[in-house]
Symmetry: C2
Subunit: 213 residues, 2 copies
């Protein structure tokens, strides 16, 4: 079972590494981090780079997991990546995304009429690509599966692992990574965070969008 | 605020990347992934490599976050790494670990009499290093803080972020990474997982230990 995780400059690391951690533990799984040109690809903070192989050298994947990143830096203009995603999707058993990775799949034309989720702050952007936004943490629609923002990739991947290998294997993976979450705050969604914290996050996003414009 | 995350061959990726994702979002944070010799360091699955700089070239860290990996491959014999950890700890404001990373700090002599946690399956091993095992997800003891297995690094880092920058900043980071966990199963600790799933994980660990012996 070949799993490909495409990276691009400014990807969000946990979007990619969370699902990798879960799916790489499936029986007979192999994972390739891939990118348009190959070589190390640097994440959104500039502090972390993951080695990749070039798309041209990638095995044909059974599963694609597309991570996201900050909206201004998504690879909508990378025709080679979008072409590769379309070609890969023609043969996958599952095509998955995390966070704004769903917008990249959308830009590749893969989410027309497909129920999908994304990071809460970009959920409405899915309509630009004809997708149907669903405000849930994990959304399955046929062979397409999407997770919400960043950390949701772990939940998405566990749900996907259960579909692929059964509940016992998925639970064994969950136990192996001790995924018994105990966040110190209950502030992980815009419906739960205090209003002034939500305002902080919106302000930071506005600053980033302005800097990118 | 310089944060160093030491990597070693066969590290568990999420042990390192989970805390990185949280702490790199703190104001004025810079993160360096470091290793004994520098260059790409490959994780426990063999599928993921993160670029590092050599310990000799690392900035003096204010915070160290030591990730773990499978017990048979922990770098107990890497004297340069253990020396560097001791020297770094003399100047840190926080010395943190995730998963079996606490055993590495223990091997460096940094946990004598210190209350610490680790991956559930290796918690008792802390006594080899004079540490006091505590079966909690996040444990603070003075400037030392430890998280339990793998995914617990996210909870540990959010708790640490709150100590460093206040609750509002920590909650904004939590909201930014949409950390509103919804695991599909409640099997993330040995007290919650079904007995046959716990047996599966023990069997896999025994096989790995035998292969390493």
């Amino acid at each position: 079972m070949h799993i490909a995780i495409p990276l691009f400059p400014h990807f969000t690391a946990t979007d990619a590494v969370g699902p990798y951690e879960v799916l790489s533990r499936l029986p007979h799984a192999s994972v390739q981090f891939v990118s348009t040109h190959g070589g190390p690809v640097t994440s959104d903070t500039g502090f972390l780079a993951i080695d990749t192989i070039a798309l041209a050298d990638a095995a044909r994947p059974d599963i694609v997991v597309m991570p996201g990143g900050p909206a201004p830096t998504l690879p909508f203009g990378d025709a080679r990546l979008l072409d590769w995603l379309r070609a890969a999707d023609a043969h996958t058993t599952w095509t998955a995304s995390v966070c704004t990775g769903s917008l990249v799949l959308g830009a590749a034309g893969l989410l027309s009429g497909v129920r999908s989720t994304s990071h809460w702050a970009e959920l409405a952007s899915l309509t630009r690509f004809g997708a149907i936004p669903v405000a849930e943490r994990v959304v399955f629609d046929g062979k397409r599966v999407s997770g919400a923002g960043v950390s949701a990739g772990i939940d998405m991947a566990l749900a996907l692992a259960a579909r692929i290998a059964g509940d016992d294997v998925a639970m064994a993976i969950q136990l192996g990574i001790e995924y018994d979450p105990q966040p110190p705050f209950d502030a992980g969604s815009p419906h739960k965070a205090p209003a002034h914290v939500l305002a902080l996050v919106h302000a930071k996003r506005a600053l980033r969008a302005a800097a990118a414009a």
